[in-house]
């Protein structure tokens, strides 16, 4: 038996001569705090914060700083961060654990892998063997060194399957290509060639912004032009842009502006496409909007899956500071951390405020009570991208394009079983059949067109026989129970199993549900369980869909049943046996 040290006074007690009223069943704690903040960890975190003034809303940014430096979030660093930020441990933990990109590690004895490989398993990648790729990678690499995890859509669906090694993406990924990237040990993003400030300016860029600021234009004039152009929110909701500007402008300031760069809808990659080619066209659009609505500051919320875009925007905003076009601090980039739900505008605001990305209840709408409680103008990246051109070239330039009575053109992200996937600038209202034929080089060899997703994971699924209806907000699509959303078109073929497609999409919603409300949290999980069964129970799934659509707080839960309802409607033979 081990020798224990006992004090003579304790000895008396042990022999039953109690000296106090307490039962003494337990021992006193040696510390007054459960988790002590150690000086080393405090020092390390303070060094990362580099003397900046602490802001509560920067919690996620601080967590990124720690994870970027130490490869993971160790509890000792989170304890120190909590103390420095005057937050409770739980406040830090609940935020860190909400976002998929944070790796929480218990203590210093846990081994932190050298690199994380994320394998996209959203629909377009899944169609091209993402699961098999992930299994192979898992088997090939030592988990202590290489952590292989699944991940949702990375916005590179045209080059599926895709992996991200550290922050470096591998397109058309194979085990060999990923292996080479790991060996190469350069985990920084590859920065593509893009239009720099000088070129953009030489081609007439920022002239419009300057003329606005010089008083040569009025906000009303801009709003009228935008309204006439019928430009609508291209993040998926299609709200008229001009009207949004007037609404927000009418609320008392100070107002704020947010840019939703959390392009997470599976199958969507058009915002990335534009930002990686012509960032200044977007920035000018944002600054014109900010000027028109007279906002105090712009926050750009950018998904963490787009590290190259992050780098580009940082560099180019710095150039704008140098050029005197923007005051430092007027534009602030906030980096997401892996959460689809933060593409929902109010969840995004929560995330910018440094919290878990839970959608807010409406009313109030964010135009009135938004970021930090202020009236907020929120826009998708692409919407702003077209602002300059519409104003300069006139409303007609935009609105006159379009088919079947639709106005404008759209950036369709096309992926799946087509010969030439990619971002296709095509008229609004084009049918999917025309889109495939005119813009995508037809179907992929050996595949026969069977079905399509008009608007990513949540926009429903339509069969080939409905391939001639116009693709735009509302209209016939809506009548079919579908929507165009972010214009993420995924083409399915005769080789794709609709049950598997359905399960893939529902699993995505299950993983990405914020968990706040019962219909979505429990509903997506129950739906996955029911859909994994060989035969679907149409009645149960119908009832489940109803509560999800009617009683979820936000669009995620409300739209999550769309694909399964589409499959039940159009492909019942494949699932109901």
């Amino acid at each position: 038996m081990a020798t224990i040290l006992i004090h003579p006074n304790q000895d008396a007690e042990i022999r039953g001569q109690r000296k106090h009223p307490g039962a003494g069943r337990k021992k006193a704690s040696a510390y007054n705090a459960v988790r002590q903040v150690d000086q080393t960890s405090r020092g390390e975190v303070l060094a990362l914060l580099d003397g900046q003034e602490i802001q509560r809303d920067l919690l996620i940014e601080y967590l990124h700083l720690i994870q970027d430096r130490f490869g993971a979030l160790r509890t000792r660093h989170m304890t120190a961060l909590a103390e420095i930020m005057k937050l409770a441990n739980a406040e830090v933990y609940e935020v860190a654990s909400f976002y998929a990109h944070f790796l929480i590690v218990d203590d210093d004895t846990s081994v932190v892998p050298e690199v994380t490989v994320r394998v996209c398993d959203s629909l377009s990648c899944s169609l091209r063997g993402a699961e098999a790729l992930r299994d192979e990678l898992t088997n090939q690499h030592d988990p202590k060194k290489v952590r292989v995890v699944r991940a949702p859509c990375m916005g590179r669906c045209d080059t599926a399957p895709v992996c991200e090694v550290g922050h470096r993406h591998v397109d058309h990924a194979t085990p060999d290509l990923v292996g080479q990237t790991i060996e190469g040990a350069d985990f920084h993003p590859v920065i593509p060639e893009y239009k720099k400030f000088q070129t953009y300016e030489n081609e007439g860029g920022y002239a419009l912004l300057r003329s606005c600021r010089a008083g040569e234009r009025t906000a009303d004039e801009l709003i009228d032009t935008l309204s006439a152009s019928k430009l609508a929110g291209l993040g998926g909701a299609g709200f008229p842009t001009g009207r949004k500007w007037s609404i927000v402008r009418d609320f008392d300031g100070p107002r704020l502006m947010t840019v939703n760069g959390d392009e997470g809808e599976p199958g969507t990659f058009k915002d990335r496409y534009h930002l990686e080619r012509d960032p200044h066209r977007f920035l000018e659009g944002a600054l014109i909007a900010a000027w028109s609505v007279d906002v105090e500051k712009i926050y750009i919320y950018l998904r963490d899956e787009y590290p190259a875009v992050l780098e580009i925007l940082k560099r180019e905003i710095e150039v704008l500071h140098r050029e005197g076009l923007v005051d430092p601090d007027f534009i602030e980039i906030r980096r997401g951390a892996g959460a689809y739900i933060c593409g929902e505008e109010s969840a995004m605001l929560e995330s910018i405020e440094g919290k878990r990305g839970l959608p807010r209840h409406r009313p109030p709408y964010i135009a009135e009570v938004g970021l930090f409680g202020r009236p907020t103008l929120n826009h998708n990246v692409e919407t702003l991208f077209w602002v300059r051109d519409i104003i300069q070239q006139g409303a007609d330039w935009f609105s006159s394009q379009g088919r079947e009575g639709s106005n404008g053109f759209r950036s369709f992200s096309v992926s799946g079983r087509v010969a030439e996937p990619g971002v296709k600038l095509a008229p609004a209202g084009i049918s999917v059949r025309d889109l495939i034929r005119e813009y995508c080089g037809g179907m992929e060899a050996g595949h026969q067109f069977k079905a399509y997703l008009p608007g990513g994971a949540s926009g429903g699924i339509l069969p080939e026989r409905l391939a001639d209806i116009p693709l735009d907000f509302g209209g016939e699509l809506a009548a079919q129970g579908c929507f165009i959303g972010s214009h993420a078109v995924v083409i399915l073929s005769d080789q794709d199993d609709m049950r598997e497609v359905g399960v893939n999409l529902m699993r995505f919603f299950e993983d990405e549900s914020c968990g706040q409300c019962t219909p979505c949290r429990n509903g997506t999980s129950v739906a996955v369980k029911l859909m994994e069964r060989e035969a679907w129970d149409a009645d149960m799934l119908g009832e489940l869909s109803e509560v999800m659509m009617n009683a979820s707080i936000c669009g995620l839960g409300q739209a999550a049943p769309n694909p399964l309802l589409s499959i039940l409607k159009h492909f019942p033979d494949e699932v109901v046996k």
Binding site: E13, P21, Y31, A90, C514, G523
Partner: protein, 933 residues
């Protein structure tokens, strides 16, 4: 009942919104949601995540209350949705009814089976039963391991529905900030800190989460069997009060088979349903096997020794059981002998702030009329006597000028020398909430505490240098003309003298003395003085010094110079330590004052009281607690009566105190346990615990509240008021009270503070705040609005000069020792250490120190150490504590095995006669350990 915080129907918004609810025209008043209106008009809408208790924000997450609104595509959570004019709402549409039922089915599918459920009678099952669910058809999602790591609470997340109420309870209501909702989606999970087991998290055990949990996922362990299934269901409950601190929380006590099995908070004026770990879980001391159930008499020839043994159940060597007749006769005859031989001045009594107002009143009446002396005092002497001395001098009243909830209205809150998170945990929740709502909190204390995180400024000044710090603030107020000249002119006197005297104390000079930068001192002065509404709370860090009265004078001067008193959100509030210390003081358990602070040496009052009680009374002020101890050692006092007080633990320099107690000719102790003081008794009388009696109690907010009997006293234990009456009769008094209310009624005759407060009213309304102007209106929470109860009607500003602590550290005793309480233990631990859960949470004597001091002395956290002062030494466990500054040791005084008061300095404040518990010189050394198998 309590109208505070309940939604106002008419007063705030006189023009209500009209809308249609289920086809009927209804009106919504200011702030009402659809759910509120539905509930008001009697429409039952299910709800789970919604809690109608004060402080709970609607969250709308569970969707159990969704309703259909015409023109809206999706359903809305009625608990969070305000109606708009003309809106058409259906609670009973097919779509809404179906969705609500499905929500319940999905949740129910995930629940553990009902017969294994932690609470088959929970709110969740209540609604589930009404909705006739078919949950079995849905696949079950998840299971969680039970977490039984906490001493008081059991966590079964399999029963959790993620409604978030516990998170709001912990973060927004109690602001203890332990619980979070972590992860996401179906993996979302209630966590403690970093997903730690509850028992090893920073949980402070308030149990708010348990009280609001709608499923039983968080449950009192007392109601569960070993596998976590509920098997205890109370057979009745009683509305009463918490027996512990001065906050005065209202409780509902649940009883099963004559045992308390659970306590909930009620919507009391001072707690809005909240409780702390002591109030909720510290109840089982009354069922302790150590309760006194028979009168005891010291065996012949057993000497009184100063080395105390805790006898509890095993007292037979020293005491023998006796009948009540014998014990009462023995008690009274012992006193009669002293009286006959040495006269009234040889007698004294220590009453208790734990008992009721009626008991306190009878006790002082017995000492004054039966013994014929004013030598009657109680633990207020050790707590706030100096505060009261300064307040009486400055504002003419010893009570608070505003309740602690006034913090909610304040822009700037100063907490000095108080640790409300530990000593007044429920009051602290209001302070923390106020900060969340934008108030600036300034904490002034040598030690930090968990509230420091919420503070705008923490002034961690050097121990004992309060006056230097506060004078620097007063200097700034004067020099920078931050004072309210009009208020000073109209409402105060003494400002010119302050102006003159304060010149010696510029912040730049005081900074070196008090250890706080001059800039900080000035910033705090500006914030306090220029905020529209500022309020000051203080505790024993102010009062328990030889300069305690001076400390309080400075705070009073701050309030009077700036006019930060007498309005909502302003004031002076000394936080009272015990449940009835305000009431016991009001009732006259003070040697120089009759009930309601009427001076015994005032001829007119003396004559009035002689007339009222029909007895000749002592016309000289009596001795205070420490003076009585000294008088015993000086052979002047020989006979004593102690009721519910424990001077052998609570008084300073205990070797000295215990020698005195051992020296008494005749000591009668009336208590519920054989306390350390009872060890010295000749006769011990078994009394009733708080839960075993009816009576009124007055909390720190001047709220007189009704405490009700929950259980019968054990064995032959008797009601305290009856024992006092029998003893009075034994020494020749002809008392004939038939019931407690008779005593209260007598008090009302001579205590103007109780005007318009009757026993019947208290029985009916539960509480009334004094002073109260009408027999049906609420009392005045905020006083001194237009004058002070002083002779001139003005507040008196009294400047203070610097006085050093009595015993400064030196080479031999280099550290500062300070004493106080722990969250889990109250006063001398006689009750809390016999409460199992509290004893499990803080089971051993500890001394807290800064990590750097421990390193310097080569001490490891958790090792045994010896702490010594010039008066004694004790051995205990060293706790590494980030809250302590360097150079300081903190020891709680609740541990009999290592009594902190063996070490403390009995030197007194000259005005309040309060000892300097908060400062003496000490040294610390490691204790060598023996190896044992």
């Amino acid at each position: 009942m309590n109208a505070r915080n309940t939604p106002s129907q008419t007063e705030e918004n006189p023009t209500p919104i009209s809308f249609v609810l289920d086809g009927k025209d209804v009106e919504a008043f200011d702030g009402e949601t659809i759910w509120d209106v539905a509930a008001r008009v009697g429409t039952d809408v299910p709800h789970l995540c919604h809690c109608t208790q004060a402080g709970y924000r609607s969250d709308g997450n569970c969707r159990a209350c969704v309703v259909e609104i015409e023109g809206e595509r999706v359903l809305a959570a009625s608990c969070i949705r305000p109606p708009s004019q003309g809106m058409k709402v259906s609670t009973d549409s097919e779509k809404a009814v179906k969705a609500r039922k499905m929500v319940f089915e999905l949740l129910a599918a995930d629940q553990p089976p009902r017969d294994e459920h932690p609470d088959p009678e929970s709110k969740f099952w209540h609604w589930a039963d009404k909705l006739e669910l078919d949950a079995a058809r849905w696949p079950q999602m998840r299971g969680h391991e039970n977490d039984a790591s906490h001493s008081a609470m059991h966590v079964n997340l399999s029963a959790c529905i993620n409604c978030n109420l516990c998170v709001r309870a912990c973060r927004e209501v109690q602001v203890n900030d332990v619980i979070g909702m972590a992860y996401r989606g179906a993996g979302s999970k209630v966590v403690f800190d970093f997903d730690d087991p509850m028992g090893s998290s920073s949980c402070v055990g308030c149990g708010e989460c348990v009280q609001v949990c709608p499923t039983g996922a968080l449950m009192e362990k007392s109601l569960l069997n070993a596998s976590g299934t509920r098997e205890v269901f109370a057979d009745r409950s009683v509305d009463t009060l918490c027996p512990y601190c001065g906050v005065g929380c209202q409780t509902e006590v649940f009883v099963k088979d004559d045992k308390i099995v659970r306590i909930d908070g009620r919507d009391g004026p001072a707690n809005n349903n909240r409780l702390c770990v002591k109030g909720r879980f510290g109840y089982d001391y009354i069922h302790s096997g150590a309760r006194l159930t028979k009168p005891l008499i010291r065996r012949e020839g057993v000497a009184k020794t100063t080395e105390i043994k805790m006898l509890d159940e095993d007292f037979s060597e020293h005491f023998r059981e006796a009948t009540w007749e014998e014990a009462l006769e023995k008690a009274a005859s012992g006193w009669r002998a002293v009286l006959d031989r040495d006269g009234p001045s040889a007698m004294c009594g220590f009453g208790s702030a734990k008992g009721s107002n009626e008991e306190a009143y009878l006790f002082q009446k017995l000492v004054r009329t039966g013994f014929g002396t004013n030598n009657v005092d109680h633990c207020t002497r050790l707590c706030h006597a100096s505060s009261v001395a300064a307040l009486m001098e400055g504002v003419g009243s010893g009570a608070v000028s505003a309740p602690f909830m006034a913090a909610e209205d304040a822009d700037c809150i100063i907490i000095i020398g108080a640790r409300p998170v530990v000593n007044h945990p429920v009051a602290a929740t209001y302070f923390k909430q106020a900060v969340k709502n934008g108030a600036k909190l300034i904490v002034m204390d040598p030690r930090l505490s968990s509230i420091s995180r919420h503070a705008w400024k923490n002034l961690q000044f050097k121990p004992g240098r309060d006056v230097a710090m506060l004078n620097a603030i007063l200097y700034t107020i004067v020099e920078e003309e931050l004072y309210d000249a009009q208020y000073v002119q109209g409402m105060t006197e003494g400002f010119d003298e302050l102006k003159d005297r304060i010149k010696n104390y510029p912040p730049e000079k005081m900074a070196k003395i008090c250890g706080v930068d001059a800039d900080e001192l000035r910033a705090v002065a500006r914030m306090y003085a220029t905020s529209e509404k500022s309020i000051i709370f203080w505790g024993m860090g102010i009062s328990q010094h030889v300069h305690g009265t001076d400390n309080a004078r400075c705070l009073i001067a701050m309030a009077l110079t700036t006019g930060q008193i007498g309005r909502p959100g302003t004031g002076l509030h000394p936080l009272r330590g015990q449940n009835n210390v305000q009431g016991a003081s009001d009732a006259g358990l003070i040697p120089m004052l009759y009930p309601d602070y009427q001076p015994v040496e005032n001829e007119e009052i003396h004559a009035k009281m002689e007339d009222f009680w029909g007895k000749d009374l002592d016309d000289k002020r009596g001795l205070t607690v420490v003076e009585i101890i000294n008088a015993i050692l000086d052979d002047q006092i020989k006979g004593m009566y102690v009721m519910g007080e424990n001077p052998a633990m609570s008084d300073p320099d205990q070797n000295h105190t215990r020698q005195a107690l051992a020296k008494l000719d005749h000591l009668v102790v009336q208590d519920i346990f054989l306390t350390e003081t009872a060890w010295f008794a000749d006769v011990i009388l078994p009394a009733t615990a708080h839960a075993e009696k009816d009576g009124t109690f007055t909390n720190t907010n001047r709220q007189v509240q009704m405490g009700r009997k929950v259980l019968e006293a054990p064995g032959d234990a008797r009601q305290d008021w009856e024992i006092i009456q029998d003893l009075a009769r034994g020494i020749g008094e002809d008392w004939s009270y038939d019931q407690v209310s008779d005593v209260f009624n007598e008090m009302c005759q001579i205590m103007p503070s109780l005007n318009h407060i009757t026993w019947e009213r208290l029985e009916r309304e539960g509480f009334v705040t004094y002073p109260c102007d009408t027999s049906d209106g609420p009392g005045n929470e905020i006083v001194f609005g237009d004058s002070f109860p002083t002779a001139s009607g003005k507040g008196r500003i009294v400047p203070a000069d610097l006085v050093s602590p009595d015993e400064l550290p030196d080479d031999d005793y280099p550290l500062v020792l300070t004493t106080g309480r722990l969250l889990e233990h109250w006063h001398t631990g006689s009750m809390t250490r016999r409460a199992k859960i509290l004893d499990d949470l803080e089971p051993e004597a500890i001394a807290c120190m800064n990590a750097r001091d421990m390193d310097k002395l080569g001490l490891a956290a958790g090792q045994r150490i010896k702490v010594s002062t010039r008066r004694g030494e004790i051995e205990l466990v060293a706790r590494q504590d980030w809250e302590l500054p360097q150079g300081m040791v903190f020891i709680p005084f609740c541990f009999a095995e290592a009594s902190a008061n063996l070490l403390t300095n009995p030197q007194l404040d000259p005005f309040g006669k309060i000892p300097e518990f908060k400062f003496c010189a000490a040294k610390v050394a490691a204790v060598e350990l023996l190896a044992a198998e």
